[in-house]
């Protein structure tokens, strides 16, 4: 049993299954971000990956029976993977789970459990194939590990290409077919009867014969898009899919959209006709029908975001996140001469520029308007231009920002480093204007204010508090950061602007308390006193009931306001509607971690029951050491991978490309490292291999930590292709080394006590799940440097417990 080394065909089949499983994971994340919400998708899918841990336990418990029918078990799991990818998805769509209800009705947690169990299945089957092969061909662990990793790496690249061209439904079919194809390949290698192979061949085509309705996605009825579609005569007139999600355009001829965030109540103008635009069913923005005269755009001057135009007319303007073009129309109303506008989502731009060009008055094609499809900071890094005004308004969606669901997603637009970059692109006297939905009690506006102060100080400004202004309506707030001191003249204009529109002053230098809180009256002038406290009061940040500390690239969690010492107070307020104050995103993350830990403990302990009966296990590589070694490796690998993903997101300035490039590079080069590991340990011994890999990882990571800042500064303006090449070159040696310890350890176990192989495989699977969640939690509270350092500690720990051959 398990002496032979498999042919390459078997490795290919493993690579195929691993590719399909990783693609499936990313696809699910995309689909569930449409169906439900991002944070929910994140939680369910990261927990579903426990399928890997469950698989390890399963094989460990039934090892003998499974290995004595290896061929059958191996192929069956591939087939089951193929079947479950589709069936699990279809079944989840029947589950009436709505994330928002969860906190009112604990019973809905059962539905969540059903979600989780269904989604675990495909990963369980995929993991079984790898786990079984590792146990059976224990002489070829490095080759199989390499196949698994390289396959996963290619899977992460392929899914991005697939998502670019196809709708999710077709991709789901392709993934299932790949599962069957893998089974077909394996059947060839394992000498299955030709009749059965023929059946497998047919199965490859089976997913494509499903009726169209199988993939019907049931969007949660509480999403903005579902809500809007309830209104009479509304209809979807355009739907486009891209890596950034599904963009939907909705027309509502009978009851028009009138989307003007923060409109003054003194304005009685109705906006021109609008088309609603939704991304993943949320975050409504609009494309406005271009009116016959500019005067009809006057309503745009009655938003808080219009304030900077009243202090000083800008000639050079930069709009960040131009979307459907409302900010551009506002600028046109104010007859700005030159406008640069940045938008990350290309689909949004093409809608306004091409498909609805006439409707929108060809605004994106005007000679004085330059549209850049880019991420804002990436664009600024490559530009030397200076602006009189940088306008950043409503760049994220209302629902998500208000319900605190974004806590766990990074945002690099509102960090100290980002502010410094904006400031450097302002002309003397130029202004940065940031508008956001108002949250009560104030959180994000105070955090922005604190971030601005920090950035201004870093830029050497002596009196930062004299360059800032904050105003609010009942719905939105606008923060101005001027490259220079706000003048008396400007303060006069500011007061007039607010007075005419019933907006409230929240801060300007020298403002008196009685000037605050006059039109949109709060119980206390929370905004004014908040800023006063922030500027003057010692220990204010720790006293405030929300986390409003400035964010940095190191801790880019702008939406994280949660504080543990406020938790019980808020929870006790649920009877009077206080639950909205809870930051769900963070709590869900903590809950996921607890669940993952509990499940892991059970999964790791369970096989010990059957191992107790065996006497053959090694004394040198004892069970405790096995747990520590493979657990530490699982944690460390993902910690490093996740930190580098963060760093490169900024550098490559496109979150999706960078995720794809970084993830696939890590997996592929780790796979190559794994393939080479056998040679290395044969030549130099196991302990030498692990030691040199760990030392190399340590040195290189520390070098990267120290030098990334300077390195990126020099390299950021390079063309994208070269930046991607640089990224791959930097990752390659690190990932190569990171790919060595796991297969060396597993191969060693294969020689000493092969029955522990599936157990180790499962432990590593559990650790990976915990690691992904834990990394985010640590980064939120302590920053990414700490995550990196912890990764290194775990690598060292693994090295210390590894017994190696020469002992």
């Amino acid at each position: 049993m398990g002496i032979a080394v498999p042919h390459n065909t078997l490795r290919y089949s493993i690579a195929l299954v691993s590719a399909a499983a990783l693609a499936y994971e990313i696809l699910l994340m995309k689909i569930f971000s449409i169906v439900q919400w991002h944070h929910f998708a994140y939680m369910v899918i990261s927990l579903a990956l426990l399928g890997y841990g469950i698989s390890g336990t399963f094989i460990a418990l039934f090892r003998e029976r499974l290995l004595s029918h290896f061929s059958l078990a191996f192929i069956a799991n591939m087939v089951l993977f193929g079947i479950s990818t589709i069936s699990s998805f279809v079944l989840t769509q029947q589950i009436p789970f709505h994330a928002q209800e969860m906190f009112w009705d604990p019973g809905t947690v059962l539905w969540l459990l059903a979600y989780f169990l269904l989604l675990t299945l495909p990963f369980f089957f995929a993991a079984n194939t790898v786990g079984l092969a590792l146990s059976y061909y224990k002489k070829d662990i490095s080759g199989l590990y390499a196949a698994d990793m390289i396959g996963a790496g290619l899977g992460s690249l392929s899914i991005l290409i697939l998502l670019f061209f196809f709708y999710p439904a077709l991709i789901l079919q392709i993934i299932a077919a790949v599962g069957f194809l893998a089974a077909l390949l394996a059947s060839y290698e394992l000498g299955l009867k030709s009749k059965k192979s023929l059946l497998l061949l047919l199965a490859v085509f089976l997913p494509f014969m499903l009726p169209d309705t199988f993939s019907k996605i049931n969007m949660s009825p509480y999403k903005n898009l579902s809500q809007v579609l309830q209104i009479k005569d509304t209809r979807i007139i355009e739907e486009r899919t891209s890596l950034l999600g599904v963009v939907t355009v909705v027309a509502s001829p009978t009851i028009p959209f009138r989307h003007v965030p923060g409109l003054s109540i003194n304005s009685d103008m109705e906006p021109p006709a609008q088309l609603g635009v939704f991304t993943n069913g949320e975050g409504m923005s609009v494309i406005t029908r271009y009116p016959d005269s500019l005067e009809k755009l006057k309503y745009l001057d009655d938003q808080t975001s219009a304030l900077p135009y009243h202090l000083k007319k800008p000639d050079e303007l930069l709009i960040i996140g131009v979307g459907g073009g409302s900010d551009l129309l506002q600028a046109m109303y104010h007859k700005v001469e030159n406008i640069d506008a940045v938008e990350l989502n290309e689909e949004l731009v093409t809608l306004v520029r091409d498909k609805y060009a006439d409707y929108a008055g060809n605004i994106y094609k005007r000679p004085n308007v330059n549209i850049h499809i880019a991420e804002a900071r990436g664009y600024l890094s490559g530009s030397k231009k200076k602006y009189d005004l940088i306008q950043l308004s409503m760049v994220d969606s209302y629902g998500a920002s208000s319900a605190g669901l974004y806590a766990l997603s990074e945002n690099y637009l509102y960090t100290v480093e980002a502010f410094r970059q904006y400031l450097r692109h302002l002309t003397p006297g130029g202004t940065l204007a940031i508008s956001r939905w108002v949250k009560l009690p104030p959180r994000d506006s105070l955090k922005l204010f604190a971030t601005a102060i920090e950035a201004l100080k870093d830029e050497g400004m002596h009196a930062p508090e004299m360059t800032l202004v904050l105003i609010r309506s009942w719905q939105t707030s606008t923060l101005l950061v001027k490259n220079g001191i706000i003048s008396e003249e400007e303060i006069k204009s500011l007061k007039l602007f607010c007075e005419e529109r019933n907006f409230d002053l929240a801060y300007y230098h020298g403002m008196q308390k009685q000037e605050a809180n006059r039109f949109n009256i709060l119980q206390e002038p929370y905004f004014f006193t908040g800023i006063e406290g922030l500027l003057k009061q010692k220990g204010f940040f720790s006293q405030y009931k929300f986390d409003i500390l400035p964010t940095s690239d190191e801790r880019p969690y702008f939406y994280h306001f949660f504080k543990w010492n406020t938790f019980s107070e808020i929870f006790s307020l649920r009877g009077s509607g206080g639950l909205y104050l809870m930051e769900w995103g963070y709590l869900i993350l903590v809950a996921s971690l607890i669940l993952a830990l509990l499940a892991s403990i059970i999964l790791i302990l369970l096989p010990l029951i059957s191992y107790r009966k065996q006497k053959s296990t090694s004394k040198i590589f004892g069970k405790t050491k096995v747990v520590v070694y493979f657990f530490a490796l699982g944690i460390a690998f993902l910690f490093l991978e996740i930190t580098f993903m963060q760093r490169f997101i900024l550098y490559l300035s496109h979150p999706l490309y960078s995720a794809a490039v970084v993830l696939s590079s890590f997996l592929i080069f780790a796979g190559l490292g794994g393939a080479y590991s056998k040679q290395l340990s044969n030549k130099r011994g196991d302990i030498w291999a692990v030691r040199s890999a760990v030392y190399f990882i340590l040195l290189l990571s520390i070098f990267y930590l120290l030098s990334f800042g300077t390195l990126f500064e020099y390299l950021i303006a390079l063309p994208d292709v070269i930046k991607i090449a640089v990224t791959i070159t930097l990752i390659a040696p690190l990932a190569f080394a990171m790919g060595i310890p796991f297969p060396v350890g597993l191969a060693y176990l294969g020689k000493e006590s092969p029955s522990l192989i599936p157990w180790a495989w499962g432990i590593n699977g559990c650790a990976s799940v915990i690691s992904a969640i834990l990394a985010t939690l640590i980064a939120i509270d302590f920053g990414f440097v700490v995550v990196t350092l912890l990764a290194l500690v775990f690598y060292l720990l693994a090295f210390i417990v590894f017994p190696g051959k020469n002992e």
């Binding site: 009851i255 109540i265 009942w474 405030y544």
Partner: protein, 244 residues
Amino acid sequence: MKKYTYTLIILCFLGTFLHADLTKEGYDKARQSMVKTIKKETKKTSRYLGRNTLDKKVIDAVGKVKRHMFVPEKYRVNAYDNRPLPIAHGQTISQPYIVAAMTELLDLKESDSVLEVGTGSGYQAAVLAHIVKKVYTLEIIEPLGLKAKERLESLGYKNIEVQIGDGYYGLKSKAPFDAIIVTAAAGQIPPPLLKQLKPGGKMVIPVGSQFYVQQLVLVKKDTMGKITIRQIIPVRFVPLTGGH
């Protein structure tokens, strides 16, 4: 066979238990306990609402309306819990405390004529109907509005008029109103509605998502026609500590 019979009996029992409608007395009792909860929560949040207790008219009204008739059957057991509940079409019926607080903030008189935008289940309109002379309510989602109309009629509410339509323009033919309540997700405060508010009138708008109200926006028009807005966080929560 015997084994199965027992299982069947147990299952039936469980079935009736889970889907059981409470008796009339059971609902009445649940309703009274809901009223108690509302009173308690009001006391806790008095600083924010600007009053210690609810007006007797409001208490009587929430104590009378059969909330369980406004929620889908499967939620009837929870009808008097102090929580929002899903009705159809991705809509919800608000948390009872919020309904009471909003009604309270309008300072209604018996002779008043009130406009509601966003009928939903019709529960809020029913509460209002116990206090004022006439309630006009507009619903944008047709099937929802028709259902509410039918429900309110069958419950015998004669002073409520349900209409299907765009709330933005209010109801010009019946204007002006002493009070307006906008329970629909309002992107803005519609100017035509402000015009349909009598001098001295009040308008209240809950802002937030279906399951969480984040603030109550109270718009007042004084006798001179001047508008002020109060933004009320309906919870007892002071963001600052220490010397504030």
